[in-house]
């Protein structure tokens, strides 16, 4: 087959998939992907999606015409090659000849992996499958708001009502551009109560918010959702940090008559200057981590928790960040014991964990995935309170894509580039095709 023929095949694969996408339920995606990939010489394409907690990769099946994925068992993310492709964002050789594991990312949000079998084993095939993976990721995410199939596939246990609500109103867990890398986690993912994380890009500004509604029940979830709605509504109406906090307070008092409150940190990072401004509404202070050893609490005189109407005036505090600084917002479920005398992960252990994995060059989403597992292990697999972390690393003022942002989020390296040395290449089948 000539180069020209292969170029045409690659284009036909993408064009065919796009043409079919207009009238395609997610259940048809596996079969359509397999069908169109054939034009570019791929004899198999199977989609695996990671569960909400980042433990298992589940095959996306549906009314498959190809049948290729019907009998695939779920794969653990720990200890499998597929899982390593997911964790590190690397294309890795799978078991069979010409078979690869390819990370599946929407932007920088990790969805899962593709298993592909290719008739060709060269750079052109790598480029084709990178493009195809990006296209499939976009399509899968496009179905997220309308597909119960997807929603059910990625949960490993029944959800409570608050979790059902919160996961649909919060932004994706990872975002990056040339200026910032943002990543968040929340546990227990299937039974949230009052925690909410929020971020938004607003021209040169990045808004970062963490909220913790009192209580551990559905009402806490409702209260958190209301606070997020009020926060967004005020912010998008042009309110500054103090006014946004006041708007959340007013909405809570209006609904709950001071019977419920929400603590939180409302922050805005100006990516042009690296100045972080924030208001603390009765919450744990943000932490800044610089380099691989230094961290500090950002202290700022708190105003009262939103909804309590205690009349304590808020203060906007500013901190000049350096490029590479990480701002960490978190809730007390991360560091503190819920019961007197209970096990306490603690702030020092928390920041040490983040610093150590950063120094190892691990992508930020992967660090947070491991953090939640470490905290769960510490609490014998059962958290008594919501535990949420939102990290934002400021890279610099330039919007354009950067290798640094790509490395920090675990984007696969483009064909022909070698960005960084890969950690843990300790299994024989883990080579790059």
């Amino acid at each position: 087959m000539t180069d020209r023929e292969r170029d045409a095949g690659g284009r036909a694969m993408l064009a065919g998939m796009l043409a079919d996408s207009h009238l395609m339920p997610i259940e048809l995606l596996p079969a359509k992907a397999a069908e169109h990939a054939g034009a570019a010489g791929f004899t198999e394409v199977t989609v695996f999606l990671a569960d909400l907690r980042g433990e298992v990769l589940y095959p996306l099946t549906g009314d498959t015409l190809s049948g290729s994925s019907r009998d695939d068992p779920p794969l653990r993310i720990e200890g499998t090659v597929a899982g390593r492709a997911f964790q590190y964002g690397e294309v890795l050789a799978a078991g069979g000849p010409g078979q690869w594991w390819v990370p599946l990312l929407d932007g920088t949000e990790r969805l899962g992996v593709l298993r592909v079998t290719s008739a060709h084993d060269d750079a052109r095939a790598r480029q084709d499958i990178d493009s195809f993976a990006a296209l499939l990721a976009l399509m899968i995410v496009g179905h997220r708001n309308t597909s119960d199939t997807l929603a059910e596939l990625v949960r490993t246990e029944p959800m409570n009502i608050a979790a059902e609500m919160q996961w649909t109103i919060m932004p994706p867990r990872t975002f990056a551009d040339g200026r910032v890398v943002i990543s968040a986690v929340m546990e227990p993912a299937h039974s949230i109560s009052g925690d909410v994380f929020e971020y938004a890009i607003d021209g040169p500004l990045v808004h970062l918010t963490i909220l913790d509604a009192m209580g551990h029940d559905t009402a806490a979830g409702l209260c958190g959702a209301l606070a997020l709605g009020a926060c967004r509504n005020a912010r998008r109406g042009g309110a500054d940090l103090l006014a946004t906090g006041e708007a959340v307070e007013a909405a809570l008092i209006d609904q709950y008559r001071r019977k419920r409150y929400v603590t939180g940190v409302l922050a805005t990072l100006d990516t042009r200057t690296g100045v972080l401004s924030w208001v603390n509404r009765g919450h744990l202070p943000p932490v800044v981590i610089r380099g691989s050893r230094w961290s500090a609490n950002l202290s700022c005189r708190p105003a009262h928790p939103m909804g309590t109407d205690l009349g304590i005036e808020g203060t906007v505090c500013d901190e000049q960040l350096q490029p590479g600084d990480r701002v960490v917002l978190y809730t007390d479920g991360i560091t503190e014991a819920r019961r007197a005398g209970g096990p306490e992960f603690g702030l020092a252990r928390f920041t040490d964990f983040l610093i150590r994995h950063h120094a190892d060059g691990l992508p930020v989403p992967e660090t947070l995935r491991r953090l939640t597992h470490a905290i769960l292990d510490y609490h014998n697999g059962r958290l008594q309170d919501d535990a949420t972390v939102l990290i934002c690393e400021w890279l610099g003022p330039t919007t354009g894509p950067s290798e640094q942002a790509a490395a920090l989020t675990g984007l696969p390296e483009p064909e022909g580039h070698r960005r960084r040395s890969s950690p843990e290449h300790d299994t024989p089948e883990g080579g790059r095709p």
């Binding site: 913790d212 019977k259 105003a303 205690l310 304590i312």
Partner: protein, 122 residues
């Protein structure tokens, strides 16, 4: 998860009552705490809470304290905290509530200041 909280009116004089709170003040016990303390308000608008034996206080318990503060204000009185444990002190500092809830290291100090010294000579 069953938790226990003991709420007892242990002293009273005129406008002031001392309420001893012992155990866990949390989602399960906060409603009873709020009900019992606000009941005392009818006769004693100044409440001194003896918290020396408070083992634990979560966000629901903390909110009950804030609501009680509001009710006492409406009744023309106040809530005074005596000997709160360390974790409650941290919560008061974190939330800024230390600015609006008087805190004393011991019951006797709290009584000396509560309600303008209502217990003086009593």
């Amino acid at each position: 998860m069953n938790t226990t909280l003991h709420v007892e009116l242990t002293e009273s004089h005129d406008r002031t009552a001392v309420i001893t709170v012992a155990g866990d003040l949390d989602l399960g016990t906060a409603p009873d705490f709020y009900q019992q303390t606000t009941a005392a308000l009818e006769r004693h608008p100044v409440l001194v809470l003896d918290l020396a034996r408070l083992a634990f206080c979560d966000s629901s318990g903390f909110n009950a304290l804030l609501r009680l503060r509001r009710r006492t204000q409406e009744a023309g009185g106040e809530v005074v905290l005596a000997a709160p444990p360390g974790h409650l002190l941290r919560l008061l500092a974190l939330t800024g509530a230390e600015a609006v809830l008087p805190v004393h290291g011991s019951l006797s100090e709290a009584l000396a200041s509560a309600g303008g010294g209502a217990f003086d000579g009593g």
